[in-house]
Subunit: 358 residues, 2 copies
DNA sequence: CCAATTTACCAAAAGCTTTTGGTAAACATT
DNA sequence: AATGTTTACCAAAAGCTTTTGGTAAATTGG
């Protein structure tokens, strides 16, 4: 198949018998310096040659491509089932992009994972939206590179000129604990995400800001309630099967075992359900379990989870506006958006504690 | 905020005291003509200035950006609930892109809808994947523009040098009819999508190739079975509430009314469920209904639909490989992929016909 | 020691556009 | 008629890179 040779502005100029400048003027409607006569000739030539300006050249000249890079981890490793979080974020982003008339560029993971080290991006994009799993080293590099960046890291710490959109994790904890307490639970444990720098061989484990924030909020809340035992919490890796039942066995053999678990995400929650069953406990009769995310995970437990819904769509949607503000030079505080979390999705995994007499 | 001035290859050259050419050589590892001494100096300068080549310029020169444009209609108008089809396609695309190391560019609808008329795209993208709702005029224009294009129009007719990935609609019809017949149905009606050029004021209605194909396959199958009444079929708009009950009332008042409906998509199917109920019929007791798409639509009917699952993930996945072949000049037949449809998702909307005695 | 080759590097063109700073002619003003 | 102002257009620079076709010096071979 013969590769079609695009016609350039020069071809048009030649055909119309005018200069390149004039063609450019006609194309961009700078009619000021152009007779009707000439204009018509140029337009005809454009028509005949099917000329359209090369946008690469245009962007090169006028700085800015109208494209925003998106480094949100797409759900690539599971076939039919992606992360509902990423999907909702993407939906929000799409909608905002549609509204603002920007294009969205999604990188393959090869590039995404090196995004700071070697920004191919250079010039290609006007800004970047990056998801949670980008560590601060990377963000620092991006800041130095001068690329306006907004993270949706759902976290609190980031370099000074980087924007951020995240959920209020105190809301999350409050919703979960209020729900459990209103059912009558007092001994509530928290299964956290990776909050310690513990590392198994061959596995890199980041301390996760959100995990830490949730953990802290949980600890504070439990202290305020003078709950006894004050708090239990295990720094479980963000998801790792075999830990679950070991941890749970230890907890359940305590003199005053917890009657409810607040888990850092739905996946951990599901694992705990499995673990509880393997230890002969019934959920929710013997043990109530709350997750976070409202990820519609493939259901391995046959039990709908009580969970806290993170406003992932809104995070995606807001982040683009946030980036817009950042690019237009708004003060950085206006580029940090904390979204309230308001929705607890009731499920079948929570009930009053076993000892609770009505 | 001071806009950071990117350093250029010229800056590096100056700093290292060499020519631009040499810097370019070092950057691209053409070590042939370069002493270790110089190389080190250049590398230091690059390091100090945080230089990275401007990819716009690079692409301008070497033709090809490694970016594929995606004109799949994203689910923009419904907040939390997009079209599951588009989402799955997007997932498939993402995964293929990841595998191939290409980036994906998603346009806002302003651009997407004019994509052929005025291809901004010129140079910006190496190829295009376009979803169903692009008419042939547009495809013709793209073909003329020489942009390698693959449609996932799920259809049969397209310009000669355009690739396509689509589902086998005969499979779809066969699955649906086999299911209904095995339940005992013989009088089956088909509620088609827009197969006639009928148009209400203010509404543009395209004749839809898929709708037509399904319709034809249905007609053929019914004729083969010598079904009486031979076939009934209404050219309903691809989704329009008020038509549904009018149509159904007409059909049910026939001397031999249909006992099952095969609907062109899940949305139509849902409307038919509503219509049936409003006419005092129970689904599936009095009337069985089959949809197509396995769209997880917001459930307005409180009834899980029996439906045919279109392999939307695979359509997305395959389309990128298809485009790859198209770009590398493979014969066009190899850029036309028809995917088999194998999965009927059982639901609560089908049952044996009322007259059927066991 | 001279010629031939290799090495190390560079200037300039090519790639396509937009913008700046013009010129030459036509027209208006006094 | 001389000066000023538009009008209609253009050449060249700028934007950043890669590649081509060199040159000058260093090295090798006879």
């Amino acid at each position: 198949m013969r590769r079609f040779q695009k016609s350039t502005i020069r071809d048009v100029a030649e055909r119309a018998g005018v200069s390149i400048t004039t063609v450019s003027h006609v194309v961009h409607g700078k009619a000021s310096a152009c007779s009707k006569e000439t204009k018509k000739r140029v337009e005809e030539a454009i028509q005949q040659l099917q000329y359209t300006p090369n946008s690469l050249s245009q962007s090169l000249h006028q700085k800015g491509t109208g494209i925003i890079g998106v480094g949100v981890q797409p759900p690539t490793n599971i076939k039919q089932f992606g992360s509902a979080f990423a999907e909702q974020v993407w939906l929000g982003l799409s909608q905002a992009a549609d509204y603002l008339g920007t294009s969205l560029l999604q990188f393959p993971s090869v590039i995404r994972d090196n995004i700071a080290c070697e920004p191919f991006l250079n010039g290609q994009i006007d800004g970047l939206i990056l998801s949670e799993n980008s560590d601060n080293t990377r963000l620092d590099a991006l800041e130095r590179a001068g690329l306006p960046t907004v993270t949706i890291t759902r976290s609190r710490n980031f370099p000074t000129s980087i924007g951020a959109v995240f959920a209020n994790e105190e809301d999350v904890v409050r919703l979960a604990l209020d729900h459990l307490r209103s059912l009558g639970h007092t001994r509530i444990a928290h299964v956290a995400g990776p909050i310690e720098q513990k590392q198994r061989p061959g596995e890199v484990l980041h301390v996760n800001d959100i995990a830490l924030w949730r953990h802290d909020a949980f600890a504070t809340s439990m202290r305020e309630q003078h709950a006894s035992p004050p708090l239990i919490s295990g720094g479980l890796s963000w998801s790792h099967q075999d830990d679950a039942s070991t941890l749970l066995r230890d907890w359940l053999s305590l003199p005053e075992p917890p009657t409810a678990l607040f888990c850092a995400n739905d996946q951990i929650a599901q694992e705990m359900v499995v673990a509880a069953r393997s230890l002969g406990r019934e959920v929710p009769k013997d043990l109530s379990i709350v997750g976070v995310d409202n990820t519609s995970l493939p259901d391995t437990t046959n039990l709908s989870l009580t969970t806290i819904e993170i406003p992932s769509f809104d995070i995606g949607y807001e982040s683009l506006f946030c980036l817009q503000r950042l690019r237009s030079g708004s003060p950085i505080e206006q580029c940090r958006v904390m979204l309230p979390v308001t929705r607890l999705v009731p499920g079948e995994s929570t009930a009053p504690p076993p000892s609770h007499k009505k």
